[in-house]
Assembly symmetry: C2
Homo-oligomer: 413 residues x 2
Amino acid sequence: MPHPVSPLAVPLPELAPIKGMRLAVGEAGIRYKGRPDVLFAECVPGTIVAGAFTRNRCPGAPVDWCRHVLRMPGGPGGVRALVVNAGNANVFTGRAGREACARTAAAAAKLLGCRAQEVLLASTGVIGQTLPDEKITAILPELHKAAREDHWGSAAKAIMTTDTFPKGASRTARIGGKSVRITGIAKGSGMIAPDMATMLCFVATDAQVPPQLLDRMLKAAVVGSFNCTTVDSDTSTSDTVLLFATGQAAHPRVTLQGRDMLDDFGRALNEVLMDLALGVVRDGEGAQKLIRIDVSGARSADSAKRVALAIANSPLVKTAIAGEDANWGRVVMAIGKSGEAVNRDRVSVAMGGVWMARDGTVVDGYDEAPVVKHIKGREVHVEVGLGGGRGTATVYTCDLTHGYIDINGSYRS
Amino acid sequence: MPHPVSPLAVPLPELAPIKGMRLAVGEAGIRYKGRPDVLFAECVPGTIVAGAFTRNRCPGAPVDWCRHVLRMPGGPGGVRALVVNAGNANVFTGRAGREACARTAAAAAKLLGCRAQEVLLASTGVIGQTLPDEKITAILPELHKAAREDHWGSAAKAIMTTDTFPKGASRTARIGGKSVRITGIAKGSGMIAPDMATMLCFVATDAQVPPQLLDRMLKAAVVGSFNCTTVDSDTSTSDTVLLFATGQAAHPRVTLQGRDMLDDFGRALNEVLMDLALGVVRDGEGAQKLIRIDVSGARSADSAKRVALAIANSPLVKTAIAGEDANWGRVVMAIGKSGEAVNRDRVSVAMGGVWMARDGTVVDGYDEAPVVKHIKGREVHVEVGLGGGRGTATVYTCDLTHGYIDINGSYRS
């Protein structure tokens, strides 16, 4: 049963085609009926890829597969295809799951005349059920024929599970005076895990980027986007971010020495991933409010981030905001439980720009009216000052509502 | 507005008086009207005390006060009184809060003819509001007169906030062939923090225990009880456990060398704290089910505990159990997100004694009927085998329900 569209939804923007990357979607009927559930993408020879994966210690078979391929000699090497399915995560499936991966990759490789190791895989859906890979491989030939560069919008929809709206983003950037494109899609309605709320994110660019730099730039962009968002602190067994660079754009060659040429590309890549990460938070299960948490005055940026995440993951903070209660005392509690060495008597808290507590005590007679108005809106801003250094961090999350309990308490039934 | 009594509630047992500890409760009207909200306890001279406190880095003023007193030269020294209030936590109150503590302790000390440092304090309730200590000190003289050794039951009720039932436990133990008593009370409906769900626990015994041993035994008992329970992972700014030993029982003297004499006392102390800790979980905000999680096969006991707590604190696991869904995939996810180095392909999961996943894959054709029946009950048992060592741990928690959102999303209104 589909859930109502999140009130925080944003429309899918125009997604620019990427030269050298053709996509197609199809219905394999893995779990869902009457909607696409498989995405196939074909890349031109010479495409390179970088990846970032879940830190969960019980990863799915497709995560193992991608990690293995990306670790092969030569680092993030050439890749020719991507096969993604929704409805079954192929997690905790033992040997049968590994074999399903190998067969799927082999079938795609055969179509393209490449090696299986040049095919990347991702799955999202129920845990612990053997993946019916024959349903996927049966439709690969037709997907191969149907693949086109302008299919990003339908791709964004095909990878949805409990998502209530598709997520995509496009940017252009300049490299050596020439224009390049970046387009990405994501799914996920929570940082959350089984059965079906894994985060998957696929981004492509026509830029030519040395593999080492591509890898480094992707990881930095993930740290600054997905790693600054949280829905419920649970970590999926299948989270996967892949960045494909087809190298089809006509810009001057970038060398390791000339990496400054990629500054604008890096800016655009960060923006694409941030758009996608915020899309996932906006589709947080049951989310009614987008919450931005800014922490300053920490010993370091890492310390600031740990404090911000402690606030963002606190069920008490999230339920208070769901109840439109500007309960700064719970923010103080969450700061204290972060484990960071904060000086309580320098801690300050604001909501909606109004400082309600300063230097370890309540601000007598602060104006509550603008705070009340602010917290009734769709976007809530929490600011924390720790008064102990120059470290800052920003984290996004959503509120914790009855909708979350509804979705997750009756998911499989 | 009072919440309905938890379906997991247990009746308050008979609480044995402890010779040398007299208690009284009264109505100071700090926040609640028409019910007791202050507990006063007077101890005979020579009473010693041990304490354990929240790890939250933004602790309340009474926690600072108790820590200071307990750290004074000579370690956990003599104590003559305890003053507790519900309705205002005296947290994040700066200098005004420190002064309120000093005045309250001074008033109690004056009544008893002792020093202020011989008075311990605890507060639970709203954060960030100055404690009206004059309301407390105004009724101390009448409480001092009314104090009796058999008032433990009313004491358990006076310290309640969002609790839906009072918690208490009594045990007897043998020291050197003589009988001693231990009685304790606790409040808390969640490990959770502001506004009012702090955990407070006060235990007394008539045994004579050397201060160093009392301190060590209390800390071990806390690790094996309160630290093995969790409601929502949030940590109060005021959590306080105090153990008073009046030394009024007539048993042979215990020396540091003769600590074996305390084995049975230690067993009884652990049981009292475990009863109280389970009472807090049973009163977890919105709890409908008590969940026991047993982890075995870990590298160490600490590792097993981290895995068990990751499961116990996972919103996805807790909502699945609330929905009576035996979703072992979410347990696998939580094991993986614990950060512990587990071998996925050795992981096994059971609910209600039925192993549904073994050695990294689903058990084909396991009997689902007894699992479905089990998860519909009030007590749910999750077992995890990691296949990697001899470390074991047991943790208790409760499910995450609409009741939690109701209570915490509309608390202050």
